[in-house]
């Protein structure tokens, strides 16, 4: 069983059952994420924040999954590009900006972690670290506990395609397969691990080709298409919730920005390639669909944009003014 395509896996159009408000909400959160992300770049370029690592361009696969999850019930063990994902699950722009500025009120870490290292128990977003792929066995453990305790919880772990080269990925999927755990591993394949292209990372064409090695479906789909992303996510969540065992998803996507604010991507890829992918921008495509469906017109688009920009402004201002942690806060918490 090689990798499945979206249509082979899904069978039906789950998105047809979404009411218009939900569809518009998906669009809005993607746009909010985009505006927030862009602002973070600006703040970094202005020298106001030390570091930014972007989720820009990967919004659709994240938001599609978030909208298929039961918020506060299902778990997300995220990675650093999940800015849209954590927003869609209930973190606010203020939350995120507070971390970017390293402020005391940062709910993820109280200023201890670098930006994009989220943690938010109300949304069951698990504290994330920098060493890649460590979340995969941990997510398997969360899922295992849910299963052993008889709880109806699905766990989603995300990571980049480059990170699948780590032993953690292999070991985590192995456990999930053996114990048929309620786990979805969502690989966001943006085709580079910093500068290293996919063909130097792995000898297979698709990450999803590896599902079979763990006795689970491997599904690849267009991660820049919000409805396809939602359909695959909804199908995966339903199956996992029914107890059919774990699933490996591969969202094909792209990172139009440099890897992080410390990177310069000109050394390893052409401008043409980047431009090409900008034409497949998930938000642009989503907007187009909404307009075609008659859900969005210029007036509404403007109102939504204004709401987003407002929130971004508010968050920036709030976070900039918020107090830093007291220095001695560095000493704790070590033990509970």
């Amino acid at each position: 069983m090689p990798a499945l395509t979206a249509s082979q896996f899904v069978g039906k159009d789950h998105s047809a059952a979404l009411d218009d408000d939900r569809v518009l909400a998906m669009y809005e959160v993607m746009l909010l994420a985009r505006k927030l992300d862009e602002r973070m770049w600006v703040l970094n370029r202005q020298g106001k924040v030390a570091f930014h690592i972007s989720g820009l361009g990967q919004e659709a696969c994240q938001v599609g999954m978030a909208f298929a999850m039961a918020r506060g019930v299902d778990w997300l063990h995220p990675y650093y590009r999940d800015l849209s994902f954590v927003l869609a699950l209930g973190m606010t722009p203020r939350h995120l900006m507070l971390q970017v500025f390293g402020k005391a009120e940062d709910p993820s870490s109280g200023g201890r972690q670098m930006p994009s290292h989220w943690s938010y128990p109300p949304s069951r977003i698990v504290t994330s670290s920098s060493p890649v792929a460590t979340q995969v066995p941990q997510a398997a453990g969360i899922a295992f506990a849910a299963k052993l305790r008889g709880l109806d919880e699905v766990v989603v772990a995300t990571l980049g395609e480059g990170s699948t080269a780590q032993g953690d990925f292999h070991e985590g999927l192995n456990w999930a397969g053996i114990h048929k755990l309620p786990l979805i591993v969502l690989v966001q394949n943006n085709q580079y691990a910093i500068s290293v292209p996919v063909e130097k990372q792995m000898p297979v064409a698709n990450v999803a080709d590896r599902g079979e090695a763990y006795g689970m479906p491997g599904v690849m789909y267009d991660g820049n298409e919000i409805m396809e992303s939602y359909n695959v996510a909804q199908e995966a969540i339903s199956r996992v919730r029914r107890g059919e065992g774990p699933i490996l998803l591969e969202a094909k996507t792209y990172r139009p920005t440099p890897h992080s604010s410390d990177d310069d991507d000109r050394s390893y890829r052409s401008r043409e390639e980047v431009e090409l992918w900008k034409k497949r921008d998930p938000i642009m495509r989503s907007e187009q669909t909404l307009r075609e469906r008659g859900l969005l017109d210029d007036a509404l688009a403007e109102r939504i944009l204004a709401r987003c920009v407002n929130q971004v402004d508010d968050a920036t201002e709030y976070a900039q003014r918020a107090p830093y942690p007291r220095p001695e806060e560095a000493l704790q918490p070590v033990f509970g």
Binding site: S108, S109, T127, A140, F335, G336
Partner: protein, 327 residues
Amino acid sequence: MPIKTNIEALNETLAAEMRRDARIIMMGEDVGQRGGVFRATKGLFEEFGPGRVIDSPLAELSIIGVGIGMALNGLRPICEIQFADFIHPAFNQIVNEAAKIRYRSNSAYHVPLVIRTPYGGGISGGLYHSQSIEAIFAHTPGLYVVAPSTPHDTKGLLRAALRAEDPVLFLEHKKCYRLIKGEVPAEDYDVPIGVAEVKRAGGDLTIIAWGLMLHESLRAAEALARDGISAEVLDLRTLAPLDREAILASVKKTGKVLIVHEDTLTGGLGAEVAAIIAQGAFEYLDGPITRLAGPDVPAVPFSHPLEDFFMPNAAKIVAAARKLAAY
């Protein structure tokens, strides 16, 4: 009071704790049907079944990683690493993850996880079945490290470990499993994490040790007593955080200290103990802070003459203590 071996105390306490708290899960290689390669988990699979006693795949990184996840979702896993020498593949999950989760999330998440592992030499285990691993993990803030040497402390520290809200590395000296016997009270008691114990009082010098070396030190103290040298033997029991007060109190009393461990000398935990004393009891010292430890070679060799040469023991402790006492 009943007399038990270390491993009996361990096994019985594991069972009793699992009866008390349904959140405790035992997992690791061969811990189920086989009852563990040292039989530490004997009978647990039969009593608690495959939902609480889990035979893992042969993969330490994920034994810990999965354990962390379980701990994040309401369970209290005990992860067995079959030999301490095989904990290294899990180093990242322990040091970068388990030990840092409370700090990095500002206590929003924490990891009540016990990692049990047999360690230590003297059993013809060669390079990869003899290692002492305490130094690298005692240098990991966010992780408790305990190393009980007696059946009494095994029970009390295991109970304390299973009540801790943060990860505990629970080190079991494999040579002591069946060699060491002692009284174990039937009633419930904890030995608190972080508290050392004077296992033998004395006035001329202090010997600081843990694990198998604690017992060798006690034997050495007997021999020294026959020479008229009165050695105090301090059992650290908890290796992180260290009981600074107990260490300093004993050295301030005796003025001389010999630190003994079987791990290799350079960068071993004895260095930290020495440093604490050199800073905190400087004015009380009547002689150089002395360490007796395994030599700086990559690991314990297999062949008897080599292994014996490597391992500190009572005779070597006596020799070092005599020299120090005569200073």
